[in-house]
Subunit: 489 residues, 4 copies
C-alpha cells in the first residue's frame, strides 16, 4: 500500500484517488438517491432486538453468570473475545444492516476507499459505546484494512446482539450490557492486547482506554501512531497531559471539528428543542415569552426554531460578541432577573452552572417551564430550591438522530486514517484538530444524502485563489498567525 497524505502542500504530495471529492458529472455510483429506512425501529429503542434475543435464547442457564466465566466460540471469528451470547449474532446482524441504511456516509467511504485500504496494517483498539451504529464504523475500519479489538466505554449501553454479530464477523469484542466496574476494566485490559497483537492506533470515547494504557502499558506508546478522542472529558485530559509535557503520542480532538460541531450543536438543537418541549409539556409556542440563556451554537439553534414558531425570544449572554449577534438576529438581550416575572419559559444553553438560581425560580409565574439544553446538568439550581411553581423539563434528548451519529463516526474514521498515514513529523506529541481537508471530506461524504452537487473549481480559478482544486478551500495565509484568536461565533 502506498502511503498517502492528506494535507501536504509539498509538490511531491499525491492525493489518493479516493480522497478526491466527487462532483456530479464524474461517473460516481454513490450519487444516486441513498437508500434509507426510517430510524424508529433500531435507534429509538437501542436494544429492541437484543431484548427480544435475550428472551428467545434465555433457555441457556448461563444468563445470569458473567461472560468472563464461560467459554464461547465464534465459528468463523476470533477465538479471542468475551461477550454475552454468541448465538445472538444473527439478530445483531439485522440491527447492523438497518444501521447501514442510516449511515450512507460510511458506506460511501467503504466504496470510495475500499480499494486502496488506507488502514492496511493498522491495529486499532477501540473503546466506545457498542451499538449498531458503532458496528458500522468498526466494520468500515475493517473494510479499509484495519484489525480491530473493541471494548465498551459504558457499562450499560452495549447491545449484546450487536457485539455477537461483530465477533462472528471477526472483531474481537470484550463487552456486555451490565458489566460491573471490575468487569469494565477487565474488558479494557483484555482488549488492549496480547503477546501476539499490539495496537498501533487508539480510538477512545471518554479517555478510559487511554488512561489504562498510560497506567498499565506505557510501553505501548512506542508503537502508537496516535489517539483519536471523541469526548469533551477525554479531550480535556489530553490537553492537560500536553500542557504537563506528558503526552506521549499525537492525539486528535474530533469533537471540535467544524462539521461535527455544527451538527452536534446548531442543527441538532434547532431541530430537537421544540419536539423535546412539546413532548414534555404540550405547550403552544406562538406568542409565548421565552428566555434563552446563552447564544452559542446551541442557543442560536434554539432561538431560530422558537422564533420561527412565533415565540417571543429574549437572550441572556455574558460574551459581548455573542450578545451583539443576538441583537442583530432580532433578539433582545436582557438579564434574566429583569424579565423573570413575565416569562413563560427559560431554556439554558450555556454550559455554565447555576444560570437559573433559586432567586429566579421564586419569581417565576405559576406554570413557567424551565429546561436545560446545555451539556451541564447544573445549569439550573435544583438543589437549593423547592420547585413548586416551575416545571423543570429535563430534555435528555436521548434519541440522537442517525445523521448526527453518522457525522461523528465518519469524523472518527477520517481521524484514524489521517494519523495513521501522516508522514513523519507532521504530528508531534500534542493535541490536534482534524485537518480542514479531512473535515471537508467528511462533509462531502454526506452530500449525496441531499442530492447536492458540488461545483468544481477550474484550474484558473484555483490558481487565482491560491488553493488546490480539491481543497482545502481556504487561502493559505489563514493557516498562520491565528494563535491568539480562535472562536466559534
Amino acid at each position: 500500500m502506498a502511503k498517502w497524505d492528506s494535507c501536504g502542500s509539498s509538490p511531491a504530495f499525491k492525493q489518493p484517488h479516493w480522497m478526491q471529492i466527487p462532483f456530479t458529472g464524474q461517473k460516481q455510483e454513490f450519487n444516486r438517491p441513498p437508500t434509507r429506512t426510517v430510524r424508529s425501529m433500531s435507534q429509538s429503542s437501542t436494544d429492541s432486538f437484543s431484548k427480544l434475543c435475550v428472551a428467545v435464547h434465555s433457555d441457556t442457564s448461563d444468563d445470569e453468570s458473567s461472560p468472563r466465566d464461560k467459554l464461547q466460540k465464534s465459528t468463523k471469528g476470533p477465538s479471542d473475545f468475551c461477550i454475552k451470547n454468541i448465538s445472538q449474532a444473527d439478530f445483531g446482524r439485522k440491527e447492523i444492516e438497518m444501521a447501514e441504511q442510516e449511515m450512507p456516509a460510511l458506506m460511501n467511504l467503504r466504496k470510495r476507499a475500499g480499494g486502496e485500504k488506507p488502514l492496511a496494517g493498522a491495529k486499532v483498539v477501540g473503546c466506545t459505546h457498542i451499538t449498531a451504529q458503532t458496528a458500522v464504523l468498526i466494520e468500515t475500519l475493517a473494510a479499509l484494512g484495519a484489525q480491530c479489538r473493541w471494548a465498551a466505554c459504558n457499562i450499560f449501553s452495549t447491545q449484546n446482539a450487536v457485539a455477537a454479530a461483530l465477533v462472528k464477523a471477526g472483531i474481537s469484542v470484550f463487552a456486555w450490557r451490565g458489566e460491573s466496574e471490575d468487569e469494565f476494566w477487565w474488558c479494557i485490559d483484555h482488549c488492549v492486547g496480547t503477546e501476539t497483537w499490539q495496537p498501533n492506533m487508539v480510538l477512545d470515547d471518554g479517555g478510559d482506554l487511554t488512561d489504562w494504557i498510560y497506567k498499565k502499558y506505557p510501553e505501548l506508546f512506542k508503537n502508537l501512531k496516535g489517539v483519536v478522542e471523541e469526548s469533551i472529558t477525554g479531550i480535556y485530559r489530553l490537553y492537560q497531559l500536553s500542557k504537563a509535557g506528558r503526552l506521549s503520542v499525537p492525539a486528535m480532538n474530533v469533537n471540535d471539528s467544524v462539521t461535527k460541531q455544527k451538527f452536534d450543536n446548531l442543527y441538532f438543537c434547532k431541530e430537537s428543542v421544540l419536539e423535546g418541549l412539546k413532548r414534555t409539556t404540550d405547550i403552544m409556542f406562538g406568542g409565548k415569552q421565552v428566555v434563552v440563556c446563552g447564544y452559542g451554537e446551541v442557543g442560536k439553534g434554539c432561538c431560530a426554531a422558537l422564533k420561527a414558531l412565533g415565540a417571543i425570544v429574549y437572550v441572556t449572554e455574558v460574551d459581548p460578541i455573542c450578545a451583539l449577534q443576538a441583537c442583530m438576529d432580532g433578539f433582545r438581550v436582557i438579564k434574566l432577573s429583569e424579565i423573570v416575572r413575565h416569562i413563560d419559559m427559560v431554556i439554558t444553553c450555556t454550559g455554565i452552572k447555576n444560570v437559573v438560581m433559586r432567586e429566579h425560580l421564586d419569581k417565576m409565574k405559576n406554570g413557567c417551564i424551565v429546561c436545560n439544553m446545555g451539556h451541564s446538568s447544573s445549569e439550573i439550581d435544583l438543589v437549593k430550591t423547592h420547585v413548586v411553581c416551575a416545571c423543570i423539563a429535563a430534555l435528555t434528548c436521548s434519541t440522537v438522530p442517525s445523521f448526527v451519529l453518522s457525522i461523528t463516526a465518519a469524523t472518527q474514521a477520517m481521524a484514524l486514517i489521517e494519523l495513521y498515514n501522516a508522514p513523519e513529523g507532521r504530528y508531534n506529541k500534542d493535541v490536534y484538530l482534524l485537518p480542514k481537508k479531512m473535515d471537508e471530506y467528511v462533509a462531502s461524504l454526506h452530500l449525496p444524502i441531499f442530492d447536492a452537487h458540488l461545483t468544481e473549481l477550474s484550474d484558473d480559478q484555483a490558481k487565482y485563489m491560491g488553493i488546490s482544486k480539491h481543497g482545502p478551500f481556504k487561502p493559505n495565509y489563514y493557516r498562520h498567525k491565528l494563535l491568539s484568536h480562535i472562536d466559534k461565533h
Copy 2:
C-alpha cells in the same frame, strides 16, 4: 335580567357592560399573568386520574354492570342522572380544577359576565365529549345562569370521574365510558328532557342530539331558541336541512368562526406537524425535500414550519389562488408525479381522497415518509397498494393543546349567549356564522394569556372609520353584497 343584544346597530342597543373588550389601563383584574399549569398530566392522558379511580373504587361489584341498571344518588346534585360511579367525583373535581388553569378564557368569561348572567333562564341540552375541558365549559354556562343536561357524543371518550364531579355539582349527566350503541341513544333520550324540564337551547357536536330531537321530539322545536353545532358533519346536516326548507330553528355554525378556524388549522398544524413527524420517524428536516399537498390553512401551517427548519418544500394545489399564494410565499408548485421519485416526504393536507395514489407510492424512494395531516383518512390510497417502500405515518395528533380547546369552548359559549339573547327577527330558520362581534369577543378573552394590550379607538377615529369603538371592527359596507364571494385564503 335585561335582554341584551350584541350586534344591534340600532341606536337603542345597549351593549352589556361585560361585553366591552377591556383595554389595559382600565381597571381589570384579569390582566394579571394567567395562572397556568402544564398540560401533560391531565390532557395527554385523558383518563389518568379516572383509571386510577376505577382501580381504587373497584371493590364495588357493580363495575361491569351498566349504569342504567343501578340507582345512584348525588348528595347535593340532581337525582336525575346516569353515570358510572358517583364516588369518583372528588378525583374528577381535581381534573376539572387543573383544566380550569388551562382555560383562562372561560374563567375570564365567568368573571366578566357572571354578574349579568346572560344565560339566566336558558335550559341547555348538550351532547359533546365529556372531559375535564368540556366540564369547564358546562360549569361556565351554569355560572352564567343556564341549567344544563348533558350526554356524550362518543361512546369511548367520557371521563367517568369528570362526569361524577359534574353530577355532584348539580349537572344532570347521562354518560359513561364504554356505552353500547343502545345505551348511547338511551342517554341522549334521557338527556333531552322530562315532563318537568324542556330545553330551549341545544349544543351539539356531531348532530346526533339534533337528529334525535328531529325524530322523536319535533314538538320541542317550538321552544328552542337555537342549535349550536361544532362538527363539520353536523354542520353539513344542518345546511342540508336548510336547503330542503326543513330547518326548524336558527342554527349557529361555530366551526367556521374565524378565530376557531385559524387556531384549529393554521396555528395548530404549524406547531404540531414537526413534533408529530419527529416523534414517529426521528427524521432531521434540514435539507429534506418535502411535498405538501394542499395550501389551505393546514398546508400553510405545515409549509411555514418545515421551511423554518430548513426543509425544501414543494406544494401541490388544485386552486389557482392558493397556488399563487404558495408561489409568493416561496414554494414551488408542482404536480406530485413530477417529483415523486426524488422526495423524502409527502404530507397531505387536502381533505380530498386519493391524493397519494398507488402509482405515486410505487415510485417513491426507499424510506420516503408519507403522512396525512388532513381531516380525511382517505387521502392516502392505502387500500389499493402494498406499502413496501414507504413508511406511512398516521399523525393522529391526538393531543390537541388546551389552547385550541379553549378557543372552541369559548366560541360555543358565545354562540349560545348570542342565540339566546338575540332579539326577535335577527335569526330565522337558517344556519348562521357567529357574528363578527362575538368572534372578536372570543379573541379578546384569550389576549390576557399573552399579556397583550389592545388599543382603544378614540371617538374621532371610530367616527372616521364609521364603526363602533367597541367593534365589530370592519366597515359596514363589508356586510353587504358579498354573497357570491367567500373564501378563506
Copy 3:
C-alpha cells in the same frame, strides 16, 4: 359568439373553452418560461421615453397650445380623438411593447380568449391613468372584441406618447399630460360618446366618469351592462348609491377581489417596506425596535419582512382577532404610549387617522423614524406638532411593481367580461365582488410566470368534494348565509 357564463351551477352551463384553467401536461404554449425584461426603464420613470419625444418633436410650435385647439389626424386610427402629439406614436409603441413583456398574464389572456372574443360587441368607455401598462389592458380588451374610448383619470399621469400609440392603433383617446380641470371634464365628456357610438360598459378608476354619466347622460344607463370600478373612493360612492337605491346598473368592485387584495397589500408591502425605508433612511434593521400600528394585510406584510431582517417588532391593534393573530405570529401587542420612549421606528398601517399623535412624537427618542404605509395620509399627526426629534418618512412607494399592476389589469378585464356576458338576472342594480371563479382565473393567468403546475382534480375527487373540476374550488355551502360575517383575517 356564444354567450357564456362563468358562475352558473346550472347543468346547462357550458364554460367557454378558454376559461378552463390549464394544467401542465395539457398542450399549452403559454407555459414556457415567460419572456420578461427588467422594469427599470419603462416603469420607474413613467415618462422617460415620452420626455425624450417631447424634446425631439418640440420643433413644432404648438407645444404650449391645448390639444383641444388643434386638429390631428391618425393615419389608420380614429379621426375622433384628442391627444398631445400623434407623431410620438412610435415612441409610445416601444413603451407599450416593453410593458407587454412585464404583463404576461394579459398576453396569456389574449391568446387563450382571443379566438372566442368574449367582448365582441362591447363598447367600453374607460377612465384610468393612461400609461404603457394601461395601454396593454386597453389593447387586450380590443383583442377580445371590444371597442374602446378612453379618458385620463388624472391630469398629470398621462404618458403622451402612449396615448399617441393607442390612437394610431385605433383607440379613441382624449387625454394629455397637464390637462386643466376644465380640459379634464371636456375629455371625459367627449369620451363618453357621440350620436354614433354609445357605451355599454364602463371601466372607471375614481368614479369621475361614472359621476359624469349620472349627471349629464343618465339615459345612457339604459344600455349599460355594468360599471367596473377600481378605486376605494369610487367603490364607496357606488355603495352609497346602492344604499340610497339610486344605483342604476350592476357594478363590480374589483378592488376587493382576493387575488388583488393579497397582492396590493400583503405581498407588495412585505417586499417594499424595507426598500422604502432603506432608501430614505439608510437604517440597518437588525436589532432595531419597531412598532407596527395595525395588523391587517399591510401590517402583516411589514411585520413579516421586518422580523426576517432581525428587527424586534411590536404591534398595536384595535381589533382583538388581529391582535390574537399578532400574538400567535410572535409579536408583542402593546399600546403605542407604553413603548414610545424606547423605539427606533414606528410604521403606521391602519387607514385610521391620528394614529401617531403629538403626544407620541414628543416622547420619541432623537432620531426615531416615523413612517406611513397606510392609505391615509392623516395617520400621523403632522399638523399639530413641530416635528423636531423625529424623521418622518413618506413612503409613497411610487413605483408599484409591474406584477401588482398586472394583477389589477387582469382583474379589470375579467370583471368586464363577466358583467358583459352574465345571463339576465345574475346581477341586479347593486355592487358585486368578482365571482370566485373569475378571481381564480386571474390567478391562473399569473402562474406560468412562476412555472407553477396546477394539479387537476380527478372526476372522483371533484364528485367527492361536490365541486366542478374546473372550479370554483370551495364547497357550495360557503356561498350561503355568510352575510353577517365577512372579514379579511
Copy 4:
C-alpha cells in the same frame, strides 16, 4: 499614565478600569438611549455639505490651483498641513457632529477611556479615506491622548470641509479631493513626519503609507510600535512581507476580526442585497428562482434575506462544508449549468473570478438578472460576452451604513491601543489578529445602541469555566494547537 495590557494572563496584569465591559446595574451613563439622527443627509451624499461649501466659498480665485502652492493658516490648529480651504471648517464641523451621532460606540470609548488616555504619547500617522466618519475616529484617537497626522488613501474621497475642520481642531491633515498621483504621494510624504515629529504608530488602509515608509524612511521602523491595516490588499502585502522575513514591526490585521467580519459580510449583505436589487430592477422576489453562488458569510446573508421574502433559492458551492451547511439551511446545492435555463436571477458571492461564464449567460432566460455581491468585480465574465439577454446589476452598495463604519473604526482604535500598550514580547515582527478580548470590547461598545444588557459571570461561574469574569470568554485550551484548522463556517 500607567501602562495597561489587555490580554495578559499573567497574575501581574491589571486591566484598566475603562476596559471592563459594563453591565447594566452598574452606574453607567452611556446606557441611556443613544442619540442618533438619520443618516441620509450626511452619509448617502458623501459631500453634500462640502459641495455647498465650494459653491459658497468659490469666490476665492485659488480654487483651481493646487493646495500645495498656497499658504493657509489655521488659527488655533497646526501650521503644518495642506488642505483645500481652511475656511470651510465650520461646515466640516457640522458634518462631523452629525457623524458623531451615528457613531455612538466611538463616543462611548472617549468617555470610558478619556480619563486614562491610553494613547498618551502615541504619535499616529494615518492614511485612510478622509470623511466625517474618519474624522470621528481621528478625534477619538486624539481624545485618548494621541497626536495625529493624516493623509488620504484615495484621491477622490476626501471631504474638503471635513479636512478643514480637522485642521482647525489641531490635526495635521494633508489631503484634498482630486489629488493628482504626484500630489497623493507628496501628501503621504509630508504626513509621515518632519525632523520634529516622528510617528510611533501607523494606521493604514491599502498599504500605501506602509509601503512609502518601507521605501523612503525605513529607519522609522525603529520607533514604530506597530502597523494597523484595514484593507485586504494591505493585509496580503503584510503577510507576504512576513513570509519573506522582511516585516519590521508587529502588524495588526483588523479586517479579519470576528466582529468586523460578521458586520461587513453577513449582516450587511443580509440587509442590503434586497434593497440594492429592488433599487436597480424593481423585481418582486416572491416566487422568483434565484441562484446564489457561494455560501460564505456574504452568501449566507443573501440567502437568508431572499428566502425570507419568498424567493426560491439555490446555492452553488465548491467547499463541501459550506455546501452541507446550505443543505441543512434549506437550500438545494446545484451546479449553475444544471439550472441556468430556468432561473430569474444569479447573485455571485464568491470572490472567485469567472463564476458566471459566457456559456451560462447565453442560456439564461430573457430578463434574467445577474448581480455581483462579491468583492471581485471579475466574478461575472463581462468581457467575453455580449450581454444581450441578461441585465447585469452592479450592486456597488456604495452607501455603507454608519453602523458598519462604526464597527470598523472602533476596531481600528482598539488595535492601535493594543499595539501601543502591549508589553515587550507580546508581539513580534509578524501579522496578528486583534486579541479576542479587544474584539469583545468593540462589540460591547455597540451594545448600548440596542439597549442590550450583558449578564455578568459570578466568581463561581468564572472559576468553573476557567475564565476571567471580564473575558475573554473562551476556555484557554482553545488558544493552542489550532494552527492547522481555521475557518469561518
